[in-house]
Amino acid sequence: MALGSVILFAVLALVVVGSALGMLFSRNAVYAALFLVLNFATVALLYLILGAPFIALTQITVYAGAIMILFLFVIMLLGAEKLPDTARSGRQRWVAALVALVFLAEVGLYVAYRGSNLAGMPALTADFGSPVAVGLALFEQYQLPFEITSVILLSALVGAILLTRQEKQRS
């Protein structure tokens, strides 16, 4: 049982990292967006394993659905899929390599010093993370943040419309 879950995690993690690398190095922005959809869907499967079905389905609908459709729309609207996208200047590339190395060294240190004495993941109860539990916590404990997100979404909506509006005088 434990070995099976490790193998499942390993396969999913390989797909996640592979699709992230594919997004990073594909020349065509449309392919990058499709790799990112694969990445989001696979991370949603990881959420399902971790006992978060509501979050997993939100990830599929909001991220892999709505946000990536928006990305693809803008890519095709601008015709930006084939921009000459050579890498940036050498110095920035060194900074990128340094950042990646620092992050990986951090997790390496963490595993070396703390990883061994962490307990395994506890077994989850059947109703943990169910939509009912999430909804109850959202509307009892987090009522105010929930209402604030609606204001954030409204202001983003107004801002996006205002930014993309064609001005009459100029045309």
Partner: protein
Amino acid sequence: MTITYYLALSVILFALGAVGVLVRRNAIVIFMSLELMFNAANLVFVAYAAYYQLINSQLFVFFVMTVAAAEVAVGLALMVAIFRTKHSIDVDQMSALKG
């Protein structure tokens, strides 16, 4: 199956996203790398929700997703506006404020 595996995966994802932001020049791909970094943070939230058996950190993921959706809408609108004036979304060309 310890939480360390999930933390390691998340750090790798975050590092890949950071490399993408620093290396690529296409502003839309930079945006996608940002989403990758959000995703890495969300994975840690959900992993710790399962580890501590607390539903609260799953709700944080919910809020992160909402704010990310708003951010993407405004960001892509900005990109369309920039493309209209400069006819390019190459971030190296957006240097009008450089002294």
